[in-house]
């Protein structure tokens, strides 16, 4: 969902399609195993499901997969992307499951959802750093004393009522 660079030269699970950290580096696996979420025990089954679909994809599209690798990992990145698109298309079987997996993987990157945000900021969480999430005040709360351009930037609608409502 959020591609990143390989963790080491032999990394097969991460295709290495983009520079910088991706969802895995941002904690997607930790998030999926979070006890609060309660789906950790299902992950092997979900992996099996994805691999079955990857095998079917390979058969339909004439891809030869190395038998030493899990089928999804054996796909090229462009094929992984295309397969993900198929799995997540409205009406596809088990789509709700895959949407949840996509949501959690992205949430690991965009929100560090497995960490308290102040802690994630302290740790230089790769996803929050990538999106440029601002830092809190010393007490762990966010405040923006400078927040406005401070001037009128448009004319208001002529039929605005007192109080600022549309007529």
């Amino acid at each position: 969902m959020v591609p990143g660079e390989k963790r080491h030269s032999g990394d097969l699970a991460i295709a290495g399609a983009a520079p910088g950290p991706g969802a895995v580096q941002a904690g997607a696996i930790e998030l999926l195993n979070l006890p609060d979420l309660g789906i950790g025990a299902l992950l092997p089954e979900l992996a099996l499901l994805v691999n079955t679909r990857a095998l079917a994809y390979a058969a339909i599209h004439g891809r030869v997969l190395l038998p030493t690798q899990p089928p999804f990992v054996a796909l090229r990145f462009t094929d992984r992307t295309a397969l993900a698109g198929e799995l997540l298309t409205p009406g596809a079987p088990d789509r709700q499951l895959y949407v949840l997996l996509a949501l959690f993987a992205a949430a690991a990157f965009d929100t560090a959802a497995h960490l308290h945000t102040t802690e994630a900021i302290r740790q230089r969480h790769p996803g929050l750093a990538w999106i440029g999430f601002p830092a809190p005040d010393a007490d762990g709360l966010w405040r923006f004393p400078d927040y406005s351009y401070g001037r009128r930037l448009a004319s208001e609608h002529p039929l605005t009522t007192p109080g600022g409502h549309p007529a």
Partner: protein, 531 residues
């Protein structure tokens, strides 16, 4: 059921729709009990935190077929997690006909008729119209883009104590600073001061006729575990002379559907005509150089914008396309709004729909996140949502903390799609002019359309075939059973609905008090607005 309690009035839900009647009935002398499905949290509990288990305690993501809805789940309901935009619905909304060919609102309801009730709500939760120097950067950017495109733009009235607001942008988590005017700060404490009892973590399951003489309804409920809302920890039942159903537009119709056999049937319009308020979100990926060169904006030396995470979530809004003279399904508002990072997934980075919202290009777009601007269009949808058979308990099936599966299905009609297309075109006309930004609606591949404003699943009206409630908010054929939440609102509103839900709840109160008095309770209407 082990014990059956009795009360004069039972209110189901504690958001805008529940808190307001609870106050007026308690202040008028009735014994009031409020059942609330979610937990009771207050300002110190509302942390600035995106970890699962923080805001997810009080916000539900409810996934239907073709639509996903965000809703509050706590004492105070959506008023605790809303973004506080407090707007009166434009006058033409009350004349809407949808595709049914007749006026959908009760004939007694017009903007002029509702204005006194809006006034009353605004006494209780003061609505402030921000000055331009109180509009945060994203609202300023949107306004400047509107002006350059020849449009107008307004600061958005908000139910926020502007002097207290720190512009932290964490409204979805509940306001840690008590600057946002939620029901926790006015109607609910005022109701409690008059003896109303609030019971959090109580989920109503069925409404049936009472067995005790003089009482009209018996409501069965489940108590939920505070750590895992999927787990029941107790059951009970309460009999009441009046029931005010205000569980929200995703729960009210489901509770009535489940109760239909017990109640001898409910109107056929229950669970139909759901509206997502025509909500349609787009992300604009702004070009910082163009912001500087075209709009002349600079918020700090060398930084034209980069203000997406700063401020109150909603700052400015265009009323230009709320023209009463134009045809239905072409009218909408465009509002600058901020959503927390959990929604980043939905932004589209390419023009290939199946894969536009993830992958390499999307990651590149994330690196420009501070330069995003999101825009919410609120359009005239066609009330096309329909609920299926109710689940065994609750209003949806909770699969994880905060994640629920609903039987709601939503297939936008050509009318709705036309409205969305018009809104998309206008957003692009304003924000893509001369390459200022690149604008795309949220992907529908992930979650269908997304709404934070569920409405109209049990609506009021004059036509018994297409409206479950009469013009006083009473369920047809069921005296003393009132609905006062967003489900009663007949149509989408083209603006954020909270103030209208609250005003309609205020308007319903004299009738609810009168009905309660008819059932033998010594209750009077006329308490002053709480402050």
């Amino acid at each position: 059921m082990s014990v059956t309690e009795r009360t004069d009035v039972l209110v189901i839900g504690s958001g805008f729709g529940g808190a307001i009647p609870a106050y007026h009935l308690a202040a008028g002398g009735a014994k009031v009990v409020i059942l609330e499905r979610g937990p009771h949290l207050t300002a110190p509990d509302f942390t600035h935190d995106l970890r699962l288990g923080s805001y997810t305690r009080i916000v539900d993501l409810v996934q239907g077929d073709g639509i996903t809805v965000v809703a509050g789940n706590c004492v105070g309901g959506s008023s605790v997690v809303y973004f506080a935009a407090s707007l009166r619905a434009p006058g033409f909304v009350f004349d809407r006909r949808g595709s049914l060919g007749h006026r959908l609102w009760p004939s007694t309801l017009t903007r002029a008729a509702l204005d006194p009730w809006y006034d009353r709500v605004e006494e209780a939760l003061p609505v402030a119209e921000p000055s331009w120097d109180q509009v945060p950067y994203p609202g300023g950017l949107f306004a400047a883009a509107c002006a350059r495109a020849g449009r107008t733009c307004n600061p958005v009235p908000v139910a926020v104590d502007l002097a207290r607001c720190t512009n932290c942008n964490w409204m979805l988590n509940g306001c840690h600073f008590d600057a946002k005017r939620s029901m926790l700060l006015n109607y609910l404490p005022a109701a409690a001061a008059h003896g109303a009892e609030i019971r959090p973590l109580h989920e109503a399951q069925t409404i049936a006729p009472a067995t005790t003489p003089g009482y009209r309804y018996r409501v069965a409920y489940t108590q939920l575990d505070a750590g895992d809302y999927r787990l029941p920890v107790g059951v009970g039942a309460i009999e009441a002379k009046t029931v005010v159903l205000a569980a929200g537009a995703l729960a009210t119709p489901v509770l009535l559907q489940r109760s239909a056999p017990l109640l001898g049937g409910v109107p056929q319009a229950v669970g139909r005509y759901f509206s997502g308020n025509g909500d349609r979100v787009s992300i604009a990926d702004a070009d910082e150089d163009k912001v500087r060169d075209l709009l002349g904006l600079e918020r700090a030396p060398g930084i034209p914008y980069q203000g997406f995470p700063i401020g109150k979530p909603i700052g400015s809004m265009s009323y230009d396309r709320l023209d009463a003279a134009t045809a239905e399904f072409t009218r909408f508002s465009l509002q600058q709004i901020y959503f927390p990072g959990i929604t980043d997934l939905l932004a589209q980075a390419t023009d290939t729909p199946a894969t536009s919202w993830f992958g390499v290009r999307k990651k590149e777009m994330r690196a420009r996140w501070p330069s995003w601007l999101s825009v919410l269009a609120m359009t005239e949808d066609d009330n096309e949502g329909v609920f299926g058979a109710p689940p065994p308990t609750g209003s949806s099936t909770r699969v994880a903390t905060s994640l629920c599966l609903s039987t709601l299905s939503y297939r936008p009609t050509a009318n709705t799609l036309r409205g969305w297309a018009a809104a998309d075109a206008e957003a692009r006309a304003v924000l893509e002019r001369d390459g200022l930004a690149r604008v795309r609606p949220w992907s529908e591949n992930a979650a269908g359309s997304v709404s934070a404003h569920p409405l109209a699943s049990c609506r009021m009206g004059d036509d018994p075939v297409t409206s479950a409630l009469d013009e006083r908010g009473e369920l047809r054929g069921h005296p003393g059973l009132f609905v006062t939440d967003g489900s009663a609102v007949p149509t989408s509103l083209c603006v954020n609905p909270s103030l209208t839900i609250a005003a309609l709840a205020e308007r319903a109160c004299p009738g609810i008090v009168a009905s309660t008095a008819e059932a033998g309770v010594r209750a009077r209407y006329g308490a002053p607005t709480p402050r």
